[in-house]
C-alpha cells in the first residue's frame, strides 16, 4: 500500500477531541511524524495518548483539526479505508480463526486471492511458522503479540499504530519484545507510532518521544534530550526520577565562556547551563537525576567536580543487584535519592552513614517553581 509519493509523513494539525459530555480528551495538538520513524506517545493513563492514536486509526473522529498522511486528508476517512493498521493493546486476535487466517484477514478483505505465500513470509518474520494452524488461545502472550504484529504488518500500512502492545507481557518478556519490535521496524522501514505509559519502553525504542499530560504535549524530542533536559516538572518526574531542590534565581552569568544561570540553592550557589534553565527569575526548582548524584563517606574524594555538599546522612539503602539506591537526608533537611551502580569499587553503605555528595553542574536543570514538584509522580 506504500505509495510512491515523496513524503508520506503523518501530520496532525490542531487536532482536538471533545466528547459529548464536555470532557476534552485532546487539546488542539500539532504533531509531525516523519516517514519511516519510530515515534512514541508517552504519558499516564487518561492523558489523551490513546485518543490521539484512535483518531489516526479512524476509530474516533476529531472535533476539530485535520489528520493527513502526505497530501491526503484522512480526517473523516472510514477506518477500513485508511492505509493505517493497528496492533491493539490486548492484541484483539480473532479467536475463531487460525493464526494463518488471522494474518491473512486484511489481505482477504482487500480482495487478494492468493495469500498463502505472503502469510508464510510474515509468519517467518515473526518466527511463528510452526504455529500457523493453531488458534490464538493456544499461544502464549508473547506469541499472540507477534501474531498481532504480523497481522498488521502484512498489509504494509503507511503508518503502523501500536497501542501499549507490550502491556500484557511480564517484565523480562517485555524487554525482549522491545528489542524485537525495534529490529522489525528497522527491517521493514515503516512509520511506527507507539503509545505507552512505560518510559523505559519509549526510551529504548523510539527515535522521538512526545510526552503527553492532560491532553497536551508537554515536551517532544529524542529520548536523550527529554531525559537530560526536561522542561517541566511533569517530564522530569514521569520520565525517570528527579530530585527537585528549591532555589532562588540570581541571574545570568558567564562561566568559562558559557552562559549560565546562577541559583542560590540552600546557601550554595550553583550554575546551570543556560540551555538547561527553563526559568530565569524568581524561585526555581534545581533538578538533578539520582544517578548523577555521587555519594561517598564524609571527607572522601568524589569524582564529580562541581556542586559539592557535605553533612548528609544515609536514611535508607536498597540493594537491587545492579545498583544500590540510597535516600540521603541533606544538611538542610531534604530527602534526595542517589543511585550507585554496584561496580564493586565500593561496598554498600548502611543507613546512618555520614556522607558527602556531589554532582557535575552541567547535568542539573532549572525549572519554574510555580509548577507542582510532584507532578508526574503517579499517585495511588
Amino acid at each position: 500500500m506504500s505509495q510512491a509519493s515523496d513524503n508520506r509523513e503523518l501530520r496532525l494539525t490542531q487536532v482536538e477531541k471533545t466528547y459529548a459530555n464536555g470532557f476534552t480528551a485532546v487539546q488542539p495538538l500539532d504533531l509531525v511524524v516523519p516517514q519511516g520513524s519510530f515515534f512514541a506517545l508517552l504519558g499516564p493513563s487518561g492523558c489523551g495518548k490513546t485518543t490521539t492514536l484512535r483518531m489516526v486509526a479512524g476509530l474516533e473522529i476529531p472535533t476539530a483539526g485535520t489528520v493527513r498522511i502526505g497530501e491526503s486528508d484522512i480526517t473523516y476517512e472510514k477506518p477500513y479505508k485508511r492505509p493505517v493498521n493497528t496492533v491493539f493493546q490486548n492484541y484483539a486476535l480473532f479467536p475463531h480463526l487460525t493464526i494463518a487466517d488471522n494474518v491473512a484477514f486484511g489481505l482477504r478483505r482487500r480482495g487478494v486471492k492468493n495469500t498463502a505465500e505472503q502469510v508464510a513470509q510474515m509468519l517467518d518474520l515473526v518466527e511463528l511458522t510452526t504455529q500457523a494452524n493453531k488458534k490464538p488461545a493456544q499461544l502464549s502472550g508473547g506469541q499472540q503479540q507477534r501474531v498481532a504484529l504480523a497481522r498488521a504488518l502484512i498489509n504494509q500500512p503507511e503508518v503502523l499504530l501500536l497501542d501499549e502492545p507490550l502491556g500484557a507481557l511480564d517484565l523480562k518478556l517485555r524487554r525482549a519484545m522491545q528489542l524485537e519490535l525495534k529490529r522489525i521496524q528497522t527491517e521493514v522501514g515503516l512509520t511506527f507510532v507507539h503509545v505507552t505509559h512505560d518510559q523505559e519502553e519509549a526510551m529504548t525504542m523510539a527515535d522521538t518521544i512526545a510526552v503527553m499530560n492532560a491532553g497536551r504535549v508537554e515536551q517532544m524530542g529524542s529520548p536523550e534530550e527529554l531525559y537530560e533536559n526536561p522542561r517541566t516538572t511533569f517530564v522530569a518526574n514521569f520520565l525517570g526520577q528527579s530530585n527537585l531542590i528549591k532555589g532562588s534565581i540570581i541571574g545570568k552569568d558567564t562561566l568559562a565562556g558559557a552562559s549560565v544561570v546562577k541559583v542560590d540553592m540552600e546557601g550554595t550557589i550553583v550554575s546551570i547551563p543556560e540551555e538547561r534553565a527553563h526559568a530565569i527569575t524568581g524561585a526555581g526548582w534545581v533538578g538533578i537525576r539520582p544517578e548523577k548524584v555521587l555519594v561517598a563517606p564524609a571527607g572522601e574524594n568524589i569524582d564529580a567536580p562541581g556542586s559539592h555538599f557535605t553533612g548528609a546522612t544515609i536514611v535508607s539503602t536498597s540493594f537491587i543487584g545492579v545498583s544500590t539506591q540510597y535516600v540521603l537526608r541533606t544538611a538542610w533537611g531534604q530527602e534526595i535519592a542517589a543511585f550507585e551502580q554496584n561496580t564493586g569499587a565500593r561496598g554498600v553503605m548502611p543507613p546512618g552513614t555520614a556522607v558527602d555528595f556531589s554532582w557535575r553542574p552541567e547535568f542539573a536543570f532549572l525549572l519554574d517553581a510555580s509548577q507542582d514538584a510532584s507532578a508526574g509522580i503517579e499517585e495511588h
Binding site: A57, G58, L59, K78, P79, Y80, K81, V84, N85, T86, F88, N90, A92, F94, P95, H96, F105, G106, R109, R110, R151, A152, N155
Partner: protein, 281 residues
C-alpha cells in the same frame, strides 16, 4: 485419602435427578409404548413388547408429526431473525438504556403463557382490530381471517418462544469483544463484512442455543395450535394429549411420545454437528 470418595458421593444428587426426572419417565414412556394396544382402564395395561404400536402410530399421526416439525422450524427461524436483531440492538446500540430495554423485552414473560396467548386470540380474532385493519387496506379479503389459520398458530409459537431465543442470543452477542470488531474495521473489513466474518461466527453458540430452546418446546407445543390455529390442523402434541387423557390409548400415546423424542434428539444432534458447536453439549 479422607476425601477420595467425596466426589462420587456428590455426583449422587445429579444421578438421582437424572434417574427420577429423565430415566424413569423415559422408561415408563418406552414401557407404555410397548403396551398391548387392546388394554383399557377396565382390563388393565400390560407390556407385551408390541412393537407394531410404532408403525401404527406413525401411520395414523405421521402428517401431524410432520406439521409440528414444520411449524416449529418456521417459528424457530422467525425467532432467530427477530431475536438476533433485537438482541444485537440491545447489546450494541442501546448504551446506558440497555437495562431498561432488557426489562422491556423480558416484560411480556411476566404474564403467563396462557394469558398472553389468550390475549393474542382476542387481537387476531375475526372482530379484532388487526383483521379489520388488514381488511380495510385490502390485504385480507372481507371474509378472510387470521385466527384459526396456520399463520396465527405459527405467529403464536414465534411470539411465545421469542424470549427463549433472545436470552441466549443476547448473552453471546454481549460477550463479543467490541475490540474485535474495531480490529476487523482496522483490517479493511466494512461493517457488513465485519459482521459476517467476526460477529456472526463468534455468536454461533448463541444461535445454536436459541434454536434448541425454541425448536424443542415448540415441536411438542399444542396450546398455540389449539387456541390460535384451526381445528383441522392438528399437531402431534394435541394427539398425544388427547390419547393420554381422552382416549386413554396409552400404547399409541407412548409410541407417539417416544417417536417425537427420538425425532427431536436426532434433529438436535444433526444440527449441533452441522453448526460445529459440539463443545456446547
Amino acid at each position: 485419602m479422607r476425601s477420595r470418595m467425596l466426589p462420587y458421593w456428590l455426583l449422587l444428587p445429579a444421578a438421582l435427578w437424572l434417574f427420577l426426572f429423565f430415566l424413569i419417565p423415559f422408561l415408563s414412556l418406552v414401557a407404555t409404548s410397548l403396551y398391548d394396544p387392546d388394554g383399557s382402564v377396565l382390563t388393565g395395561y400390560h407390556v407385551t413388547w408390541h412393537f407394531a404400536n410404532f408403525p401404527d402410530a406413525i401411520k395414523a399421526y405421521g402428517p401431524h408429526l410432520w406439521r409440528s416439525v414444520w411449524w416449529a422450524l418456521i417459528a424457530t427461524a422467525l425467532c432467530l431473525v427477530f431475536g438476533y436483531i433485537l438482541a444485537y440492538t440491545i447489546a450494541f446500540k442501546t448504551g446506558r438504556w440497555k437495562n431498561l430495554v432488557l426489562v422491556m423485552v423480558v416484560a411480556p414473560f411476566f404474564t403467563s403463557f396462557l394469558i398472553r396467548t389468550d390475549a393474542w386470540k382476542l387481537i387476531l380474532g375475526d372482530h379484532g382490530w388487526v383483521v379489520h385493519a388488514l381488511q380495510s387496506v385490502h390485504l385480507l379479503s372481507q371474509d378472510g381471517r387470521i385466527l384459526a389459520t396456520p399463520v396465527a398458530a405459527i405467529a403464536g409459537l414465534t411470539y411465545n418462544y421469542l424470549p427463549f431465543a433472545i436470552l441466549p442470543l443476547y448473552t453471546s452477542i454481549e460477550k463479543v469483544d467490541r475490540r474485535l470488531i474495531e480490529a476487523a474495521g482496522d483490517l479493511y473489513a466494512s461493517p457488513f463484512r465485519a459482521f459476517l466474518n467476526v460477529t456472526l461466527p463468534l455468536t454461533m453458540p448463541g444461535v445454536v442455543g436459541a434454536s434448541l430452546l425454541t425448536f424443542i418446546p415448540a415441536v411438542g407445543d399444542y396450546i398455540n395450535a389449539q387456541l390460535l390455529g384451526s381445528t383441522n390442523d392438528r399437531v402431534i402434541g394435541a394427539d398425544i394429549q388427547s390419547l393420554f387423557t381422552t382416549t386413554q390409548d396409552y400404547a399409541a400415546a407412548g409410541a407417539l411420545s417416544v417417536t417425537l423424542l427420538v425425532v427431536v434428539l436426532a434433529a438436535t444432534l444433526i444440527y449441533v454437528r452441522k453448526a460445529g458447536t459440539e463443545e456446547l453439549l
